[in-house]
């Protein structure tokens, strides 16, 4: 299967492990990712706060390039912010004639054009779960991650792409949980799995960001996770690089490695850790990875849980006895 690929600025350097592991797992899964030539930054969460029309024009240049380069109609973005911005631009261009007219005029100034709907923007998790599928992923598992306890972390922008349909539940997403289970790892309860990592607040209001990061680390630690698996470069950076700052601020002692889900997939596929970008994380994952055993853990008899189908995400209470 051939896909257009929009890495985004983070994957070029800071989140290189995400890019490398994505490329490494693409081969066994028979995926061909063709990078959009000369793509530009999506503006993250910054440009839309400053200037609306330029923000949409900036994003739309990428959509126009992707549509023009004959790399297929599906465009895959591994970064949550890139995914949301690309998807949002396509969506709003289609439903807002005034915006489309202005963006068209701006693109024309660069000799480009874009027809909304001609590119289908997907997050990498969506591509892997829906297009490749759990079965095909499971078939590639050569070294199951037995005994490794993983907290699946979705963050905000993938489960909640605003007014647009999400491929997973906005409050209780499960796709990453299921994927990690297929790798042989143990998925721990992680009630805050779709909560915010603080985004750019680490730069603007550290107090706000550190508190949100602390919540997430505590929740993963309380549920005895060996590591947190993320699908977003911003989440990885905040939880990994600011873990020391959280410990210093709150007198805690967290050492929870934060890895990309694609790195875990690669490991389970038998790809050497070095090719997957392990070692680039600031909180080392070495000790956690040494817990992986050759033998499957004994299945734990699950206690009955209170069924909740809707409402606010609350910790699930385990019934007595």
């Amino acid at each position: 299967m051939k896909y257009g690929y929009y890495p985004g600025c983070s994957l070029e350097r800071n989140a290189r492990a995400y890019h490398d592991s994505t490329m490494a797992i693409s081969k066994p899964l028979n995926l061909e990712f063709v990078e959009v030539d000369d793509w530009n930054c999506c503006g993250a969460t910054e440009y839309i706060a400053l200037n609306k029309i330029p923000a949409f024009a900036l994003i739309s240049r990428n959509l126009a390039l992707a549509a023009d380069q004959n790399i297929g109609e599906n465009l895959v973005a591994p970064c949550s912010a890139c995914y949301l911005n690309l998807k949002k631009a396509d969506h709003y261009l289609a439903e807002t004639p005034d915006l489309k007219q202005k963006v068209d005029t701006a693109l024309e100034a660069g000799g480009l054009q874009y027809q909304p709907g001609s590119i289908n923007v997907q997050h990498l998790l969506e591509t892997l779960v829906l297009d490749v599928g759990f079965e095909a992923i499971e078939e590639q598992v050569q070294k199951p991650l037995y005994n490794l306890k993983v907290a699946p972390y979705y963050g905000c922008l993938v489960p909640r792409p605003a007014a647009m349909d999400s491929f997973d539940d906005p409050e209780h997403p499960m796709s990453l949980d299921k994927l990690i289970e297929k790798l042989g790892a143990t998925v721990v309860d992680f009630p805050l799995k779709a909560q915010c990592c603080g985004g750019h607040m680490t730069q603007i209001s550290e107090d706000t960001a550190l508190e949100l990061i602390r919540h997430l680390l505590k929740n993963a630690a309380d549920n005895e996770a060996d590591m947190i698996a993320t699908i977003c470069p911003m989440c990885q950076l905040n939880l990994d690089a600011y873990q020391d700052a959280v410990n210093a601020r709150f007198g805690t002692d967290y050492h929870i490695p934060i890895v990309y889900f694609t790195q875990l997939m690669g490991l389970a596929f038998g790809i050497p850790a070095k090719k997957l970008g392990f070692g680039k994380e600031i909180v080392s994952s070495r000790a956690a990875l040494e817990k992986i055993s050759d033998e499957a853990p004994q299945p734990v008899k699950k206690s009955k849980k209170v069924q909740k189908t809707s409402g606010l995400p609350m910790p699930i209470m385990i019934e007595e006895g």
Binding site: K52, R61, A106, G110
Partner: protein, 194 residues
């Protein structure tokens, strides 16, 4: 624009709705239920909760709304948006308030006036290179706005990221930067540069 449809001049409420994409007109159906405020991870840091801000917009309290730090504390998590029973695009409304507060020149009065400076520093690199450049953004932003932060960054986390090979020391430029600049310049003419 709504003023052609009514005999009265556009109110602040009309301006906010007109600036916002999507179903912004749903704002008129706000129940004041407070689901947005209760869902907001940074709500406790805000001058006014999102629910209060919507009541203030309705009451035409333009100056107070655009001077408040509320929209600048929005972390863009979209919980309010997906939970709002009236399907009001709240996160997008917060972005509109950010833009309007910059245009009105009020943001410097909010106690989070570093937020737009960060966005501007970030975008300055993107406009000139086509790509973001973390080291440059962080250095320029911190040096200009809080030098102590720059020292902390250079000796602490920045150094760690650098030694892990996770930080570029020079910006990357896209090939056709002149095309991008033409597009953005035209867009600014059409959109009214902030």
């Amino acid at each position: 624009m709504t003023d052609s449809l009514t005999s009265r001049p556009p109110t602040f409420y009309d301006e906010v709705v007109a600036e916002t994409l999507g179903l912004a007109e749903n704002l008129k159906t706000c129940l004041q239920c407070g689901t947005c405020s209760g869902s907001c991870p940074s709500g406790p840091d805000m001058d006014y909760s999102p629910r209060t801000i919507f009541a203030m917009i309705d009451a035409g309290m333009k100056d107070e709304v655009l001077r408040s730090n509320t929209s600048w504390y929005c972390v863009s998590c979209y919980y309010c948006t997906v939970r709002c029973p009236q399907e009001i695009p709240i996160t997008d409304l917060m972005y509109s308030l950010k833009r309007m507060s910059i245009q009105a020149g009020h943001y410097q009065e909010a106690d989070l006036d570093k937020a737009p400076e960060f966005s501007e520093t970030f975008m300055n690199f993107v406009e000139n290179n086509g790509r973001s450049f973390e080291l440059g953004i962080a250095t320029r932003y911190h040096l200009r706005y809080h030098p102590l932060g720059a020292i902390k960054l250079a000796t602490g986390m920045g150094l760690k990221l650098f030694t892990k090979g996770r930080m570029d020391i020079t910006p990357t430029k896209i090939k056709n930067i002149s095309q991008l600049k033409s597009i953005l310049n035209k867009a600014k003419e059409l959109g009214g540069a902030a």
